[in-house]
Amino acid sequence: MTKAAVVVFPGSNCEHDAVLGLELAGATASLVWHTERDLTGFDLVVLPGGFAHGDYLRPGALAVISPVMAAVSAFAERGGPVVGICNGFQVLTEAGLLPGALQKNDHLSFNCEDATLIVANDRSSLTQGVAKGTKLSIPINHFSGSYVCDAETLMHLQNNDQIVLRYAVNPNGSLDDIAGVCNEAGNVVGLMPHPERACSSLLGSVDGLVLLRALVEASVFA
């Protein structure tokens, strides 16, 4: 069975939810404390949502120097699937594992609501095998989710098929409606929406399972 590591920084708060989502998608998942230096034995790594180190300085800025991040980088370099959700996305951009940055929402307030996403690539570890153009209903929950990068980077992202998800209706001012991106290899993915919050019809949507199942599948071949 696929073994997932869910990294916990002090201030993370979606780690239990990420574990539940991954388990529903068919993996076993364990919490990994931020001082760990070894991710041996795990097939995929998730950086969950929350406020790592209180979001002090900038969201994600201090998490970069947590000891676990060296292991996450090494895991990514070997081609292992790494997914950052919300605050985890912010950590991955701060760590330089993904291009661009997440700024405050253009309306300058926190926003928790359902969003319609459009799958924009089918080669990332989170969307492998999911048809481009698939519409997914998945909640967003963030203050700093407006994706920005310079024009050259944006063109690079577009030309290299690195835009993973777009918003159907842009909720935060993100460039090119970007909700998620991946690295060139496609194994490292960051997204602002929370797929783990859309894994039960009781809670309103099971569309998050489409992404998490693709991730669990992808890790088998990684």
């Binding site: 002090p10 201030g11 708060n13 979606c14 239990h16 939810d17 539940l20 404390w33 929350g50 406020f51 180190h53 209180g54 979001d55 002090y56 307030s109 926190f110 926003n111 928790c112 609501e113 909640p139 929950n141 203050f143 929370h194 783990e196 919050r197 894994c199 039960s200 019809s201 009781l202 809670l203 309103g204």
Partner: protein, 746 residues
């Protein structure tokens, strides 16, 4: 703080001359300055409930499910499957009036600590908020600050805010109300109380350093009203919150409790360290020796009275055994939480009856000189109780006689649009989904959550929460108004299929030295007590906030009720407010319908009229009708056939507002033959539900079997809501409902 004063020191600290005499009698000597400071905060209205306690005794507090009733940090009920729920409601009105962001943020932080003190993980917050009309810049500043404060702290600390209330009325312009309810869940065997025991055990202060913020918050701020120039001079009495510190404190404390390393634990809230040490010592009837020099401080040179009364946030006091200390420090280090031994449990004093008595000693150094020594229970429990004079307001009879029913009819459609208000601007700023429990969240009749969370035994049960208040009703008749408010809460829970289990209350009233205010408080408590007995519900916790006044004018009586209900089995979502085209829309009510425009939103908000009399409540019939609706909904929620497609109780704004809200939620209109008059559309009263269904006969039979009556309102369809000849387009209604808040906050 205030300008230099020639007042004696005890009066500057908020103690009356008679209270000083009582302190001298208790101690058998003059108190020193430190001791005087301890009594002034512990005997403040906020900490001691000295004006309300004799009245609160009339509330029923026991029930089969009650594990912990009022008097502890939170009430606790047995929710089944080895899971207990801890619940509490608090006010943070006065700090929020001065510094809205921090006032609201620390209100959330404070109540979370009350919950995890009991061993429960906080899993839900609700925030009933009351402001003046949002058309003024100051009210917008307050509203935006408070909502950002709840959002900034609650989202970051990782507790979903699943609902609340938003009320605008001129009476709150000078004194907004910010109430916060928190619910936590725990494996029943982890339940722990704030009691010190075991001579030789250690008192360990966890969390933040102690600073000069919030000194005298309970006595200076929360126990006096506001005058014109107060809001600047009182700002240093507001505390500053740090949700990141609190998040680590929650995790550290729950880890300590999981390993059974804690003998007793108490949060530091109002009145800070003196409150936590004296309450744990008084409950345990032990001595508590505190080394004031051991307390980590944010700045040097803090005086003992400052250290003992500081309300610096994010601190807890744990009583641990000397053998357990090393492991406690290890776990706290993992969560980067400071843990410092600041005191120890010592032998109690012996009272005149020969029984052990708690005693609080404050020393310089563990075996150093004693700088204060007082009986702990005298601080915690023996504040003077006031039976303040009561007086029925002199103008009440004239107000009752001045019926809004006599007002001339206006443009009903325009008036209806004026009452629409969509609070989505508020709740989309709150994380309301964390922990994957929220089946229905804010914007619904009541919040319905799965009974689940990290570390809990598995369960398919659920629980429901609602907060309700109606100051318009309560200003006309606090007794009946409070009872009607509880009836509305029960109706809200019925809409999500839930059976009510326990009540908490936050009693927001004016200045208790005004006899009219004390009459309102006493009547409201009697109304709540009567209604709780009628509905067989225990009150398991509460908070009283007095001195809500501005420039000598008291707020309307505002008892806020939180009602917790249980759901046996949650397998499917309940119907929401939205019907589908073709659904039959029914009104379920009692055979004898009682509604009134007295105290209605229409009278107050549209016509500026505050007279009249209230609708009457038939509690047994109401309970039966709500039970029938709850059973219909619960059957579908449990996985059986859901006969209802939509459900909404009729409350503030009457039938007209309820029907438009449902039409907007579904984006499908409805034609009715309801008379387009204020009485018909805006009259308010209990025991009415709007139900959407395709199974009219079965639903009707279920309602009638419970003694109710069903009226067919129409079949859903189109893009208008019509009342006879008067028709309102959904597009107009949508614009109107979002106008007030969106415009107010651009």
């Amino acid at each position: 703080m205030a300008a230099p004063s020639l007042e004696p020191i005890h009066r500057q600290l908020g103690l009356t001359d008679a209270e000083l005499d009582l302190v001298i009698e208790v101690l058998g000597r003059q108190p020193n300055h430190l001791e005087l400071a301890l009594y002034s905060v512990m005997w403040s209205e906020h900490c001691s409930y000295k004006s309300s306690r004799i009245h609160l005794r009339r509330l029923p507090t026991t029930g089969d499910r009650v594990l912990v009733g009022p008097g502890e940090n939170a009430g606790v009920i047995d929710a089944g499957d080895g899971i207990a729920l801890a619940i509490r409601i608090e006010s943070h009105n006065h700090p929020s009036a001065i510094e809205p962001y921090q006032g609201a943020a620390t209100g959330v932080g404070g109540i979370l600590r009350d919950i995890f003190t009991m061993g429960a993980r906080p899993i839900a917050v609700m925030d009933p908020l009351f402001f003046g009309p949002p058309t003024s810049p100051r009210q917008r500043w307050l509203l935006e600050g408070v909502v950002s404060g709840v959002s900034g702290y609650g989202n970051s600390v990782g507790v979903p805010t699943i609902g609340g209330e938003l009320t605008f009325d001129p009476c709150y312009a000078g004194n907004p109300l910010v109430n916060v309810l928190c619910l936590g869940a725990l494996p029943t065997e982890r339940l722990v109380l704030g009691i010190a025991s075991g001579t030789g055990n250690l008192a360990v202060l966890l969390g933040s350093r102690t600073g000069r913020d919030g000194i005298g918050g309970v006595s200076v701020l929360a126990s006096a009203g506001f005058s014109a120039d107060d809001d600047q001079s009182k700002r240093p009495s507001v505390q500053v919150g740090d949700p990141y510190e609190e998040k680590r404190l929650i995790e550290a404390c729950l880890a300590l409790l999981d390993e059974k390393l804690v003998v007793g634990i108490q949060d530091l809230g109002g009145a800070g360290l003196v409150c936590a040490t004296s309450e744990t010592a008084a409950r345990g009837r032990v001595g508590m020796d505190v080394d004031v020099d051991a307390v980590p401080t944010r700045e040097s040179g803090m005086e003992p009275w400052e250290i003992m009364t500081s309300e610096s946030q994010e601190r807890m006091l744990a009583i641990v055994t000397p053998e357990g200390l090393a492991r406690v420090q290890e776990l706290c280090a993992r969560w980067e939480v400071r843990a410092t031994v600041v005191g120890r449990v010592t032998e109690p004093a012996i009272g005149s009856d020969g029984e052990p008595l708690g005693v609080l000693r404050i020393r310089h150094g563990f075996d150093g000189p004693i700088v204060a020594e007082v009986p702990a229970s005298s601080l915690a429990d023996d504040a003077p109780l006031y039976e303040r004079p009561l007086a029925r307001p002199a103008d009440l009879d004239a107000r009752h006689a001045d019926r809004p029913e006599a007002l001339p009819e206006g443009d009903v459609a325009a008036e209806l649009l004026q009452m629409l208000r969509d609070p989505v601007w508020v709740y989309r700023q709150y994380d309301h989904q964390l922990f994957l429990n929220t089946v229905t969240g804010p914007g619904s009749n009541a919040a319905l959550l799965r009974l689940a969370g990290p570390g809990l035994p598995p369960s398919t049960r659920g629980f429901a929460l609602t907060t309700d208040s109606n100051p318009r009703w309560c200003s006309l008749d606090p007794r009946a108004g409070t009872a009607l408010t509880l009836a509305e809460s029960i109706a809200n829970l019925a809409c999500v299929g839930s059976t009510p289990a326990a009540v908490v209350n936050c009693l927001n009233f004016g200045n208790p030295t005004h006899p009219e205010v004390m009459w309102q408080l006493s009547e409201s408590i009697d109304g709540l007590a009567e209604a709780c007995r009628a509905f067989e519900l225990p009150v398991i916790g509460g908070n009283v906030s007095l001195y809500n006044e501005s420039a000598g004018v008291d707020i309307d009586p505002t008892p806020v009720l939180g009602l917790l209900g249980l759901v046996e089995h949650v397998a499917a979502r309940p119907p929401v407010r939205a019907w589908a085209a073709g659904d039959s829309v029914l009104l379920a009510q009692l055979p004898e319908v009682s509604t009134s425009l007295g105290g209605s939103r229409w009278a107050r908000e549209v016509r500026g009229h505050s007279g009249g009399i209230l609708a009457s409540l038939d509690a047994p019939a109401h309970a039966e009708l709500c039970g029938a609706v709850a059973a219909l909904v619960a059957n579908g929620v449990a996985g059986g056939e859901q006969l209802l497609t939509a459900v909404h109780d009729v409350s503030g704004g009457g039938l007209g507002v309820a029907l438009i809200e449902m039409a907007l939620a579904s984006n499908v209109g409805l034609g009715t033959s309801l008379e387009a008059s204020a009485t018909s559309l805006f009259g308010e009263g209990p025991s009415r539900f709007i139900l959407g269904t395709r199974k009219v006969a079965e639903v009707t039979a279920a309602i009638e079997a419970a003694g109710g009556r069903v009226v067919m309102l129409g079949v859903a369809g189109g893009d208008n809501v019509a009342f006879g000849d008067v028709s309102i387009a959904l597009d107009d209604a949508r614009r109107a409902s979002s106008a007030l808040l969106e415009e107010a906050t651009v």
